[in-house]
Subunit: 404 residues, 2 copies
């Protein structure tokens, strides 16, 4: 079995964190100069380790073990949200680098190699899962041509800056026996439970709605209550009913959020004429998701029969993704062999593994996030937990190589 | 008794509406060029009618009957909200002009004259009731020095444009036997009830609160519900409870409004870390107001004991204003003599009469607003109702002169 070098892993992570450093975090949004610099840094590290590595013209970095006909694909992403943390994505990529490098150093050639990937734009600056979708040929030219960031920046000119790179890496379907992605939890459950390793059972489905209400702007002093068409009050009643429904319908791990609410004109003495609300809910169980969606649609239809018009738009609908139990079992066994009983968790956030799992057996492993912080410059994990996680993942990779 | 000239009244209103005309409405915000032009137009009309008239250096226009030792003060305001209607304020001022002019034309001198006033900034662009408060010496220099519009424009430079005008008009305490203000209803009740004249019994009190909530921004997918500090959900629960309380505590005419609600950061997948809400309630009954305020404060205190901090700021607290029954009775009698049984209404909006009523007997009369529209360029009232209202108010003035 290979032995990973914990000090080298931490040094890599810290070196990578200097590219786009922002205070204690990093700002490496997809296809920015800093993002591309980080990807070129990774290509250099992979090549130095003995892999055949390049960045393609969508920004995906792939490092292949040149001596292997089959491989386990290990990786994550190196782009971040604006003013994000130093570990989100980078951790899984540096684990993959360290594991592939240690395997080559072990000098015990194996039919199943270790390939390393850093997918582009996992954070969805331009297109969610741009890189992993490209890797599996899911992206079309039209989608790329029209994509814009929420700030209005177009994807096409951002891609033009790396147009001279090789054509997109595509998944070599016969090569891969599976995909492993390690990530920080981005939540507080492991810390609260004292767990150092979590095996991810699946990724939750997400349904997200935009709700718009339209009534009439009336003087809030002179219009009797019964004669109003209050677009704000209608949204408050709907929001309150949604909270109530979700508490009743929720499974153990269901989560929901009303992330935004705005009224227009938005002053104290005018009855709101328009309102808008953003809400979502997530669960690993498709039955719970469908039941919650049906109840919400029924509530909206009921509200729309009142004096205010209510319209909803489903702006996201991702089905829950199950991960491969056999790969998860390898992570569990590896943790157990090091004296740690891993917890099983569903991932509440999206990851490239959601896309990859459509094409090959995929698994994810979490290590704890201090304070559950995510997408923030204060995001962190102890060095011990970082190194321990890489040891467990390396062992899991070794186990899978033996059984593949 | 004097006879008013309905055609001349309508012509004056239409001439005034051309100053600052915006589509079918007017844009004559306080101390703008258009507002000052309208006030100079009024001074000209009053002087031509035989009154001693001038605009002072806060913008108040006063026209005095030079032959009378006592007077009934009649008026309203000529400033508007941005893109407002042509009748809000202007109606009461043009009624006053027409009545004072008709009285002089009747050539039947009377010990009690008719003075005309147009108060500045009734709409509160810079300071609510700036003009009427100045008239009674309620404004101090510091308040003027720090006042700004909600767009950040300072009052002082706006006043500097008319600094060459005469010192502020002050109420001549011995002169006035009472104040009469006519206004459009700005609500739908008269139209719904088929009423052409309303006698205003009083002006409702207003309590207005800004509510701020502070929690933590967490990932809405990875943070279990029980571990959140959701500043948005806390506001929704508070808003919902407020609606419920108000329905239970409300008197017949109580009105309330949640005019604004905002969440930060305001995206679907982040638990809101901050929220803000603006709400108010109004009633003519101080007991109802106090009971509602106490219940709201108790609810806020209860909510603040949860995981989210809730703070409230009382941003307005106006006590209900009773108007003078004797003056209202004169309007009632005048309407009845013309075959119209007036309805009694509380005014849900604020008017200068609130300020004036502290210093002299004051009354208000409403005529209908088509569709209840207010503070909008589509605000309107039929010509017949406009003229009829002036006839009734003129008769009421005559009755009060006889009894004064």
């Amino acid at each position: 079995m290979m032995r990973i070098n914990g000090k080298r892993l931490l040094a890599d992570l810290r070196e990578l964190a200097r590219i786009g450093a922002f205070k204690t975090g990093v700002d490496r949004i997809a296809l920015s100069g800093e993002d591309i610099e980080a990807r070129r840094w990774l290509v250099g590290k992979l090549a130095a380790a003995g892999l055949t590595a390049s960045m393609d013209r969508v920004g995906n970095v792939l490092g292949r073990d040149p001596k292997a006909a089959k491989a386990i694909l290990v990786g994550s992403h190196t782009d971040t949200v604006p003013k994000g943390g130093w570990l989100d994505g980078a951790l899984g990529v540096c684990y993959a680098l360290e594991i592939a490098r240690s395997a080559i150093e072990a000098n015990a050639p194996h039919a199943t190699g270790i390939d390393v990937v850093s997918f582009e734009d996992e954070e969805g600056t331009y297109l969610p899962f741009l890189g992993s979708r490209s890797f599996f040929g899911e992206l079309d030219d039209h989608e790329i041509a029209v994509a814009r960031s929420k700030d209005g920046a177009a994807l096409a000119p951002a891609l033009a800056t790396i147009a001279a790179e090789p054509p997109p890496h595509r998944c070599d379907a016969g090569r891969y026996v599976g995909y492993l992605e390690a990530h920080i939890e981005q939540g507080p459950r492991m810390e609260a439970g004292g767990n150092r390793i979590a095996v991810v059972t699946g990724l939750v489905g997400i349904k997200r709605f935009r709700v718009r209400s339209r009534g009439s702007a009336n003087h809030a002093g002179t219009t009797p209550m019964a004669m109003r068409k209050d677009a704000g009050a209608a949204l408050i009643a709907l929001a309150s009913g949604f909270e109530e429904d979700m508490r009743r319908l929720a499974g153990r791990d269901t989560v929901w959020n009303i992330g935004n609410m705005t009224f227009r004109p938005g002053v104290a003495n005018i009855v709101p004429s328009e309102g808008e609300m953003l809400l979502e809910f997530r669960d690993i169980d498709a039955v719970v998701m469908d039941r919650a969606a049906a109840r919400f649609r029924a509530r909206v239809a009921e509200a729309d029969r009142g004096p205010v018009r209510i319209e909803i738009e489903e702006i996201a609908d991702l089905a829950p993704t199950a991960l491969a139990p056999r790969l998860g079992a390898a992570i569990s066994a590896a943790a157990a062999a090091r004296g740690e009983t891993p917890v099983s968790l569903a991932s509440g956030a999206g990851h490239d593994a959601m896309i990859v799992a459509r094409y090959m057996p995929a698994a994810m492993m979490f290590i704890p996030s201090i304070g559950g912080v995510s997408h923030d410059i204060t995001e962190n994990t102890s060095d011990d937990d970082i190194v321990f996680g890489c040891e467990v993942l390396a062992d899991a990779v070794s186990r899978l190589r033996e059984s593949s």
